[in-house]
Symmetry: D3
């Protein structure tokens, strides 16, 4: 019901329980594509798995501690974007996102992240936004690089991915550096 | 951040903590106007009173049990609309609303309720929507009457209003009766 | 252990865990009779189903928000009566009840409701008591009608009953109208 | 509302919030009398102190873990009786009680404890009931002694009473020893 | 990680989840020996049974309400010792313990309890320490008797042990009686 | 009561409520020294401020999610060390520490962190340990640098310190790199 307008084609939508089939299909039809970098994919075995998770996501939003929402492109659910947490003490947050395979190539994530940055810096007065990706995840890294984030460093063995560790790279954007569109 | 588009001029927005000043001003500048039929007005003495309530409203939404959100008319916060609860067992909900004095006369509540009914009946598959008003609250009653609700009955002494009881009148609209725009 | 004396033959008793077999028998031996108007009957499959529910009922009483208790007629458990909630802000409550098939014809519910009304109006200073029944539930409707309740209106599709909606009728009694016996 | 009948003159009643004035008066008019052996008396400074405690007592009852209730003698609130806990694993409980000064001399506590023992042993199938009193509390000790409890031992420094330790004496009655009236 | 030094050979250690296998082996290799006086032994069927219990034990410690910890003798886990509760109002606590069969004969429990008493009386300013054993549990009774506890009394049918009641005997030591080593 | 032995002079101790005065003195006598890099110092105004916090720290330990404990040097409380969290999914944790001004110069933190690393890598099988310091906090940075941690990167504006942002530097040590003493 409640969404955030990125631009004429793209909206970010807070999920409700009745989105569970649509969300499961998005995951299920992109399992191999998403599994490469997301460890939770295997745990989502049926739409009902989302009955418990969706309220947790929205409660996070209610507690002003981030959100996990859907990305709609011309009405179709094509991915997700969220704030992992909001550290109000240090005015810092961290953006995560994924996109279905078929929806790539339209700059959807770049446009969505860019719009979200406007909101975070201008409305929510956040000072620092992080994007953390697996070093080898070229596509995910392209987003912060394209948007002018600063590469801050490598977290060695930062993430356990099924049967091995991956190094993570941290990018950040500060409020003073972001030119508001 | 997350809103629901009613039409080109009207949006329903889920509140966040940073809306507390704006929301307090709406109440504070309409105290006498709102006090007539709303008992909680006196309790809102400062913006900080909303720091505790806003998360409760959004958690209600997270629990799929209704919401309390702001109505924006051409960007300005002019009132609130909400679902008091959602009784999923009997597929029933109840709409409440108020509007600032100066925003009256544009059919804002009628347009907002009408759009909300579309969403409730088509997307959330609700069967029955109630609107309950004080019998003497002519303006509030005009909304369900204008939208073709059926008057079902009077709750005698249904509401304690400061120092006396008011009778309430219940209107309802069923999914099968609502012609979807 | 704790009961409320209606009259020489009838008591309302707060359940304890050790009542679970007796309560299950009451339901189990009246399944078809109760199923007509009560949707929860099918969920009670064994005495242990009540181990979780009985404490919830008594906690409701502890929170001054109503109760669900047994009706004993000459010592035998013959039905239940309860207050669905107590809306202290508007001094309103709503009574529900059921009776085993074999215990009908003794005015047990009428006598019990009447005594409960005395207590609600005189001791708990409640102003308004509702009784809501399915329109087609003749027997249940006879109670408020016999006790002089005022019929206030019909809730169309007010209750989902297994595979269809039933209309509900609301009756109310106000403190000032009830002649205290 | 809910009580337990001891005999024609004595009832044990579960408190509700609207008993708070009556209960406070009982304590307030017996402060010195009760202070001798009860450390919590000083904490009860106004009826509102009981608004929080009464629901806790009844929730204890809801959890099948004992109760704290009022003793009425010919309708007047004259004292309290309770089960401190119920240890279902070892089928053991412990009775506590106090009586207003003016209500002494009618065997109220003896009659009440005796009736409670009937209920504990016959209905709740408790095996062992303890009564623990301060060694120097002659009046309190008279109850178990009169009812045939067995003196089991002394807890040295068992209770801190304002500014010093008191020894406690434990009495017990087993189900097999209690002759059911 | 965190332990309490009794003497050069004996430590009391707060369990962490990674101790679950070691703890299960201790129980599993002493089932018959421990079953004589401990009813919970049968419930521990696998190391994972301790995943839930260990945090509960440490939370008890966090709440300053006692602890359940391991006894290590020359590094090997040989038993457990704990405070069932701490009644701060009456400055009283109660010690429980068990030891593997093969670790008997080294005075491990006596030395551990003695050291714990030093800590309870000197650092935690406890006034009264109880040890309660089954009357027929000669070995367990030898500890308080050897350490000079005073036998206070017998709790008849104090404990349900599988299929029958056992009498319990209470010993106590007061701070003023304990000669600090 | 429960401690972790670093070496003959240094112990890490889990706090209990009765440590509150000692802990407050440590903070109070080092206010200016600690305020430089720790924002919470001003909030600790009296020993009682620790009554609420100490149980929270130990509950964190109970939940296997890190700890905050005292550092004793020859018995005297000279500082604190802790694990901010334990991310078991990615086998990562982060160490924090502070030391009183007068206790500097004995390598206390280096020896304590070194010993803690042994425990984290060998017993708790952690893979990655982070230490994050303010870039300008030379003394704090000396610890990871002395222990061979790898500098991974700078978090620009990583911490809000009273009235300005500080950059933070992240160091990490991986299990495979740490030579176990």
């Amino acid at each position: 019901m409640f969404s955030y307008k990125v631009d004429e084609e793209i909206w970010i939508e807070l999920f409700q329980i009745h989105h569970k089939e649509e969300l499961f299909d998005l995951i299920d039809t992109n399992r191999e594509h998403l599994r490469k970098w997301l460890v939770w994919v295997d745990k989502r075995k049926s739409p009902n798995d989302f009955e418990e998770i969706i309220p947790i996501w929205t409660r996070n939003y209610a507690d002003n501690n981030g959100f996990d929402a859907g990305i709609r492109y011309n009405g179709k659910l094509v991915g997700m974007i969220g704030l992992h947490y909001i550290d109000w003490k240090n005015s810092t947050t961290s953006i995560g996102y994924f996109l279905s395979e078929e929806a790539q190539g339209h700059g959807i994530i770049t446009r969505t992240v860019s719009s979200l940055l406007n909101y975070l810096f201008s409305t929510m007065k956040i000072n620092r936004v992080e994007i953390v990706c697996a070093v080898k995840n070229r596509k995910s890294r392209a987003i912060p690089e394209r948007l002018g984030f600063v590469k801050e460093g490598i977290k060695r063995d930062g993430q356990w991915l099924y049967d091995h560790y991956e190094d993570l790279v941290t990018y950040s954007m500060l409020s003073k550096e972001w030119n508001m569109e």
